[in-house]
Amino acid sequence: MGGITNNAMIIRRELMTRIARLLMQGKLEEQVDRIPLELRPKGSTDISRCCIYKDRAVLKYKIMAMLGFHIQDEEDELTPLAEYVRQAFRRTEVSDEPLTVVDAACSACVKANYVITNMCRGCVARPCLVNCPKNAIRFEGGQAKIDSSKCVNCGMCQKNCPFHAVVYVPVPCEESCPVGAISKDEKGIEHIDYDKCIYCGKCLVACPFGAVMEKSHMMEIFRAFREKRQVVALVAPAIAGQFRTPLENIVGAILQLGFHDVVEVARGADVTTANEAAEFEEKMKAGQPFMTTSCCPSYTASVRKHIPELEPFVSHTRTPMYYTAEMTRKKYPDAVLVFIGPCLAKRFETFQDPNTDYMLSFEEIGAMFVAAGIDVAQSKPADVGAGIDPSGRGYPVAGGVAGAVGKKLAGRVDYRSVAFDGIDKARIRELKGLVRSCSGNMVEVMACEGGCVNGCDVIANYKVASRQIGELVKK
């Protein structure tokens, strides 16, 4: 999901890097308002929208999201970014709504999905008009037009047009959302319904305008650095595939950024594996037909909000992040614990986790490396992972969790695993069907195709990352 290079992604990473650099230099408040001007200087021909001013405005709001704000919280358009920097440094809580929509960037998409093109001949038969159940079609200048306030996107006009003059224009974010959680308001701006949202991050990747943004915790983390607190990183196992370097160098680079210690979440994965295997054995003995994994927070949110009938089958074992944070908290009672991970779903999980304080995405940590001028390959390799089972490092690749549990069970019980990776609209229906019939007795579900290595915030292409992680697991 995250790995497809496009300009919206590059702009986001450039902004992150600039913010991180200014934070490191202690000049963010002083210079943040210059960033949009620097990226879109006077006379710039590198314009994405109607004009330079709109581009700058959009950049400003994207920065606001990176400072951790909800765009709709803006009260006065003249409030400079410097003021948000000051507020962010005073802020004591992060919100549990991890996304915000940059309204200035949104609204470019059509309201009705069906559009009548110039191919319309304004024929006599007019089957579009006759068959429209909502009376949404009128004729103007000899051509059909759709009234978007009446259109319900049924597609009858397209089906009936003899000239194929009607085209379907998708709204990418809405189309990508597996659960219908994002939709337009009367002004054409997308809103996220958190009663439905499963934090899969698909809208964030799908929007070609980069209008859906994660609210970053970067400010909180730099504040902790500034206050000389102990900041400890918990790194998701997927990180091993994010740079073309051994894990030892990645850990070394994170330490170089100023983190006090780096703990591999693969350590917690070992606990998850053991507990999951024990729970599985118990449940099978009790006659339950199947059990599903629980380590993907996007999947568990899907069950909670959309597939309640599956809830009794979801394992009660906690995620690797949970166990890792629990162990780390014991060792560092006063430290700030920062989870470094691949996706929005994990950002949501950090809100709920009793021990983890903040989250940095792979994209953000990558931007921090760039800002600090750190080349990961050149960093001093750090010791990693004494006593971690290699199978724990395989969690982020589809099949990894089921594989680790299977290995743990070592043939003691009948174990037939099935893996579902990638949640979309059809998959939600399939998951609903599991309750009636399931072909295996252990179901692994991950919201992203290919597993966590394909989360919405990854840097590397997931095939490359999977290969790298595969090598690590073999060791």
Binding site: T5, M9, I10, R244, G366, I374, A377, I459, A460, N461
Partner: protein, 91 residues
């Protein structure tokens, strides 16, 4: 090996983060007859990111030419062009 056109894909952190990660797929992206004529390697920071005149990351070096803002498509085009110029390949 000697006759092959050398392609160095920067795997330095800056390039990697700014979209270079995707270029790891170059080998499988190229048509087989072209892939056979090039020698693709990952390279540590090509030191273009520190220069002001080199353009924007990610960088790839094809022969002696630096490709800035490299994408799979752009790199493939440069490779074809250079192979053609060297008379090693014709469309």
């Amino acid at each position: 090996m000697e006759n092959k056109l050398s392609v160095k894909v920067c795997t330095g952190t800056l390039c990697y983060v700014m979209g270079g990660a995707e270029l790891q797929l170059l080998e499988s992206y190229l048509p087989a007859e072209i892939a056979a004529r090039v020698d693709i390697k990952g390279a540590p920071c090509l030191d273009c990111c520190n220069r002001t005149d080199a353009g924007k990351a990610p960088f790839v070096q094809v022969g002696d030419r630096i490709v800035a803002e490299a994408s799979l498509f752009k790199v493939a085009e440069v490779i074809k062009e250079m192979l053609k110029a060297e008379g090693k390949w014709a469309e």
